[in-house]
């Protein structure tokens, strides 16, 4: 089978800074990482590759430096890497991003499984994976913890609200991955990084994948950002004093007003 893994380079959210005056993100000096859910998706795909000798292609969309996450995928074992990079993609929302990724998958050729992270930690939308599936007319299984392949049967363990399901699908199918609790992310050895430079890597533009400009970027994105601002600052503590009965009553009142207790 042929597997495509979609990965995204994101700023390390633990290091993100905000300009307090403008509310804009300060990207300078913030390290970029592979989106952790995509990392898990990649590892899940590579485990299947190991077991069944599947072919794995890593795709990302982003500026030229996003090559990093593609190369990392190859260093961890993927066979081929593709970066969609073009000014025309800039400002794409989840709809336009799914459109471009779907076009790229079509260009890659016959694809039996697509792995995505459940969401990216910079946007937290969880919309791109299902969007790609829809554009390609594939079924989707979202929020998976584990995926197994048995012949033409694809068996996934997925989360649902309040529990989980074991589901079965046939290729082609798109899966979005959450991280299961015992997961240990792997990173490539120095040798593997060096060797990844010799694997096939392509940078594709919008015209390379036959994506139409009217569906890309700010112009093609149905949603637009109206305003970005820092979350409301925590105000100074509201202070009360009072021991015993008084203090207890105050705490109960606070918990009610904050909806932790019924009125």
């Amino acid at each position: 089978m042929n597997i495509v893994v979609c990965v995204k380079q994101v700023p390390d959210s633990t290091e993100v800074k905000i300009n307090p005056e403008t509310g804009h993100l300060i990207r300078a000096g913030v390290p970029s990482i592979i989106n952790p859910y995509d990392h898990f998706a990649l590892q899940s795909a590579l485990e299947l590759k190991k077991k069944h000798n599947f072919r794995v292609t890593v795709v990302s969309m982003g500026p030229p430096q996003a090559k990093s996450v593609v190369q990392m995928g190859m260093a961890l074992g993927a066979d081929e890497g593709i970066l969609l990079s073009d000014m025309a993609f800039a400002g794409s929302d989840t709809w336009s991003t799914s459109y471009a990724l779907a076009k790229a998958v079509k260009k890659i050729g016959k694809t039996d499984m697509i792995f995505c992270g459940m969401q990216a930690i910079d946007g937290d939308t969880a919309q791109t994976g299902p969007g790609v599936a829809q554009q390609l007319g594939m079924p989707q299984v979202t929020f998976c913890e584990h995926v197994d392949v048995d012949g033409r049967r694809i068996i996934a363990r997925k989360l649902i609200d309040g529990g989980h399901e074991i589901v079965e699908a046939r290729p082609p199918v798109l899966l979005t991955m959450i991280m299961h609790k015992d997961y240990v992310p792997r990173y490539p050895s120095f040798l593997a990084v060096n060797a990844s430079l010799k694997k096939p890597f392509h940078t594709w533009s919008a015209s390379d994948i036959g994506a139409e400009a009217q569906f890309l970027g700010l112009k093609g994105s149905p949603t637009q950002v109206d305003k970005i601002y820092p979350p409301p600052q925590r105000e100074k503590a509201a202070m009360f004093s009072g021991s015993g009965q008084e203090g207890m009553a105050k705490i109960l009142q606070i918990m009610k007003s904050e909806h932790f207790l019924d009125e």
Binding site: T14, E15, K17, I26, A28, G29, I33, Q65, K67, S68, Q71, M72, A75, V184, P185, Y187, P188, S189, F190, L191, V193, N194, S196, L197
Partner: protein
């Protein structure tokens, strides 16, 4: 070797950091530090080619390595130092021990030994230092005698003692410097050879996770093919050839450990409330304990990168540059770590927070691979020659180039750096005229002044450049403010201390005060506080409280 592309280098750095995050938590480091214990298992894992393979950086691709260049090795050494300087030293010792082979080994020797180091994950030690021969290798006592069979030299018998050898007690193979009949030469000695033994592991002030031991060689027989380069008497040259390079590595240690301590302090200062506000908002705290230290470390970084890039472009030697890089980074790193303890107050003095250990560890960077004093002498010697050779133009020409930089980009402190260089030229010339370098104190002090003035020049040039290095974590506004702060401080110190130095050793120095242009240097101090405020602000943004 040229360095690799940025993306590959950063992937390796990420792998190293993630490994450390998972396998070397601070609690473990603390425990090993307490027990004075070398983490054999961790080092073996870090050398494991499927896990990390850090040692492969030093080994060319054709022998199974990844052909790292100086810039790559600087970045990895900095990252290692941020994890633990003891572990970093364990890796560094292998780098260093591999060096004589890289530099002087024959093709067959490289084929055999470099391949083995790469594939068998061998820990290597570099055996040069002896009880009576430290930075000064002239008093080498260890001897290698010929063993002749059938009229041919079949091998050598080595006898002697080595001291303070990093990895000494744990290495699988050693490169040992010994005096052969033809002169000092490097030999490959394996740990299982008869007559070879390691002494007990030293109880050190810091880098307690690194193994340091003396070595005893009692009539150890090594075959002739273990003589590196297959020619006697090349040992000192082979050792000298890599000083520029190895000192960049130790410079990266000083930088990494010092910056790590500072970043702890910066994050801490945003949470610690004193007198109604966080410490990070108080000039009495930031402008004393944080800003000057961080600025100096950024200066050291730019000088390290300047040297590394020159080495990567194929220049050889660069002994003076290597000395400046290491001297600046280790001395400033040491000071930064000390101030980081102060910045954390009582917490800093406990073993609960890592700065106390960093302070103990980082001291070694002022000692090994050439003590700070040896480096002061090396820097002075190298540049004094340039001063004489150019008839006093060396620093004046450099200052002229800084003026050009300033004309294009006036915000990078290049003007202050140029003033500092001209003051330095004036001081050197006065020392020549009055023959003051007969005082050793004068020469060593000049070494120190040269380091700061040249670093200012390199820092300002880098801060004026269109494109910044991948390592700069600040925006243009912030980094240029740092360069200005550095250049002003360096210029003022060069002029003040240079003047004091001459006045203290000569009968008179009539025109020197004018020659160092004290007035202009003082005028250049304008805006210093505002710049420090800005730097404090940028540091807080970049290293926000976790």
């Amino acid at each position: 070797m040229a360095s690799m592309d940025t993306i590959s280098r950063n992937l390796m750095l990420d792998s190293l950091r993630e490994y450390a995050k998972r396998r070397i938590p601070f609690d473990l480091i603390r425990e090993l530090d307490e027990k004075n214990e070398f983490p054999t298992e961790i080092l073996k894992e870090m050398y494991d080619r499927d896990t990390l393979g850090v040692h492969l950086l030093m080994i060319p691709e054709e022998y199974g390595g990844v052909s790292g260049g100086t810039f790559d090795i600087y970045r990895i050494c900095e990252a290692l130092a941020r994890i633990d300087l003891g572990i970093a030293t364990g890796v560094f010792a292998t780098f260093l021990g591999t060096d004589p082979l890289n530099v002087g080994g024959t093709e067959e020797q490289k084929e055999k030994w470099l391949k083995r180091i790469a594939s068998e994950n061998l820990l290597v030690a570099y055996g040069a230092t002896e009880p009576d021969a430290g930075s000064d290798l002239v008093n080498l006592r260890t001897r290698a005698e010929h063993v002749v069979k059938n009229g041919k030299i079949a091998g050598y018998r080595i006898t002697g003692n080595k001291q303070w050898i990093s990895n000494g007690g744990v290495a699988d193979m050693h490169t040992i410097l010994a005096l052969a009949p033809g002169g000092p030469s490097w030999f490959i000695v394996e740990k299982h050879m008869e007559g070879f033994s390691a002494n007990k592991h030293e109880d050190k002030h810091g880098i307690r996770l690194s193994n340091t031991a003396g070595l005893s060689l009692d009539n150890v027989y090594v075959p002739a093919e273990n003589l590196i380069g297959m020619e006697e008497g090349k040992g000192l040259l082979q050792a000298q050839a890599v000083f520029g390079y190895t000192r960049v590595m130790v410079a990266a240690f000083g930088l990494g450990a010092g910056a790590e301590a500072m970043e702890h302090a910066i994050r801490y200062s945003q949470q610690r409330i004193q007198g109604g506000g966080p410490l990070s908002e108080k000039q009495g705290y930031t402008h004393k304990l944080i800003v000057p230290n961080y600025v100096r470390l950024e200066g050291a970084r730019s000088y390290i990168e300047y040297t590394a890039l020159r080495l990567d472009s194929g220049e050889h030697g660069l002994q003076t540059e290597g000395a400046i890089a290491k001297y600046g980074a280790s001395e400033w790193g040491n000071k930064a770590a000390d101030d980081a303890i102060q910045a954390l107050g009582g917490y800093g003095y406990t073993k609960d927070f890592p700065v106390e250990k960093i302070k103990r560890d980082i001291k070694i960077t002022c000692i090994y691979e050439g003590t700070s004093e040896v480096l002061e002498m090396t820097i002075y010697r190298g540049r004094w020659q340039e001063h004489l050779k150019s008839r006093g133009r060396y620093y004046l020409d450099m200052a002229d180039r800084l003026d050009e930089v300033h004309a294009k980009e006036p915000k990078a402190g290049a003007h202050a750096a140029a003033l500092g260089l001209r003051a330095l030229a004036a001081v050197l010339e006065e020392c020549r005229v009055q023959k003051l370098t007969r005082h050793q104190h004068v020469t060593f002090t000049l070494g120190r002044l040269i380091c700061a003035a040249e670093t200012a020049a390199v820092f300002s040039t880098a801060a004026a450049a269109q494109k910044y290095s991948e390592t700069v974590r600040f925006d243009r506004e912030g980094w240029q403010a740092m360069a200005r702060v550095f250049a002003r401080e360096a210029a003022l110190k060069t002029a003040l201390e240079g003047l004091a130095l001459v006045l203290g050793s000569a009968d008179a120095a009539v025109n020197l005060s004018d020659a160092v242009n004290m007035e202009a240097i003082q005028a250049e101090q304008k805006g210093m506080i505002a710049d420090m405020d800005l730097v404090a602000q940028k540091l807080k943004q970049t290293f926000k409280a976790k």
